[in-house]
């Protein structure tokens, strides 16, 4: 049984607090990144001319992919991509979340059907189980895994586990599970800028701005 005042706090002010912490944290980490790097005047962005699609260009792309991290670890790359896509789109386009958003600020996003979000949640949890399997049984992953990695995995999947249980009403105390669901989501949001989840910012800012042979963007900055 959840205390009424506590329930109201978790589903009210704490939601906005977590959004503010999440957004300000992201701004702070992005600022910190830019303060650590500077523009490299020696790099001039000179994109290669686009080649027409031909058999050679397709072969070249396939060979390049085979040698890349996606070619070496295809399963992990597919699983991690699917996991991250589900992690973002499932809560963002969930009908119930959008209804709450509409009630709160009169604005909402497009919503998937409830069945669709249910499938996305299941897919995400299967991906999470794959990560857990790697942490437990793959020697190279096990060698660098500590308790913190399991906590991070739990924080990332907890909103989905509790959300799934709440939606299907798998436990008799709905109020308890929905409170845990809201709390889990808030913890995850607040944890993003200050824990290992910071790779959310790190990935985009680094891969697009720092000059290296692996740059995805202009790569005109340097440490």
């Amino acid at each position: 049984m959840v205390n009424s005042a506590l329930f109201d706090f978790i589903r009210g002010p704490l939601v906005w607090i977590s959004f503010v912490v999440f957004l300000l944290g992201l701004v702070f980490q992005t600022y910190r990144f830019f303060s650590l790097t500077k523009k490299n005047p020696h790099v001039i962005y000179n994109p290669r001319p686009r080649k027409k699609i031909s058999k050679e260009s397709i072969d070249h792309f396939i060979n390049k992919t085979k040698l890349s991290v996606a070619g070496v670890n295809p399963v992990m790359i597919i699983v991690t991509t699917v996991f991250h896509i589900c992690l973002i789109i499932a809560p963002l386009f969930l009908l119930a979340h959008n209804l709450l958003l509409d009630q709160a600020i009169g604005f909402s996003l497009f919503s998937f059907s409830e069945k669709m979000t249910d499938y996305l949640t299941i897919v995400l949890l299967i991906c999470g189980l794959y990560f857990l399997y790697r942490r437990l049984f793959v020697p190279k992953v096990r060698a660098i895994t500590d308790w913190y990695d399991y906590v991070i995995l739990l924080i990332a999947t907890a909103p989905f586990i509790t959300g799934f249980i709440a939606y299907h009403q798998l436990v008799p105390d709905y109020r308890l599970i929905i409170t845990l669901h809201i709390l889990a989501g808030e913890i995850m949001l607040m944890a993003v800028p200050f824990t290992k989840f910071v790779h959310m910012v790190f990935f985009f800012v680094f891969r697009f701005t720092i000059e290296s042979e692996y740059s995805l963007g202009k790569g005109n900055r340097t440490w």
């Binding site: 290992k196 990935f203 680094f206």
Partner: protein, 127 residues
């Protein structure tokens, strides 16, 4: 907590070196998702029957990660272990690939530099 025997290690100097790179080091350690996708990019990892100790992230966490965690308060034995990670298990070829963009070679070079300052480095003429 057991007291660390830091005899023979200038911990103030180690701390000073770490402080120079603190923010970058902290951010890099925090951003490492422990995914080990960097493993196969290391030719030594591939050549040593995929021994996990040759994974770039393992070397990074067990060198700079330890120095940062212990705030430079390390003993000679720990520095010796770090030496094994950054010299014996790394050629500093800079070919390691981190999908998140962490500059692993730079971090390992920093660990080497700190070890060297403390007189901990491979003595090929003696070993």
């Amino acid at each position: 907590m057991a007291k660390i025997n830091t005899a023979g290690v200038d911990t103030d100097r180690v701390k000073e070196r770490l402080d120079q790179y603190k923010t970058k080091m902290k951010l890099s350690l925090k951003a490492c998702a422990h995914c080990t996708l960097c493993a196969e990019s290391c030719f030594l990892y591939m050549a040593r029957d995929k021994d996990p100790k040759y994974t770039p992230s393992y070397k990074f966490i067990n060198s700079i990660g330890i120095l940062y965690k212990k705030k430079g308060m390390v003993d000679k034995v720990t520095l010796g272990e770090i030496r094994d990670n950054v010299w014996e298990r790394c050629a500093l070829c800079t070919r390691c690939y981190c999908p998140l963009g962490i500059n692993i070679p730079e971090m390992l070079a920093l660990a080497r530099s700190i070890c060297r300052e403390q007189g901990v480095y491979p003595r090929y003429d003696r070993e």
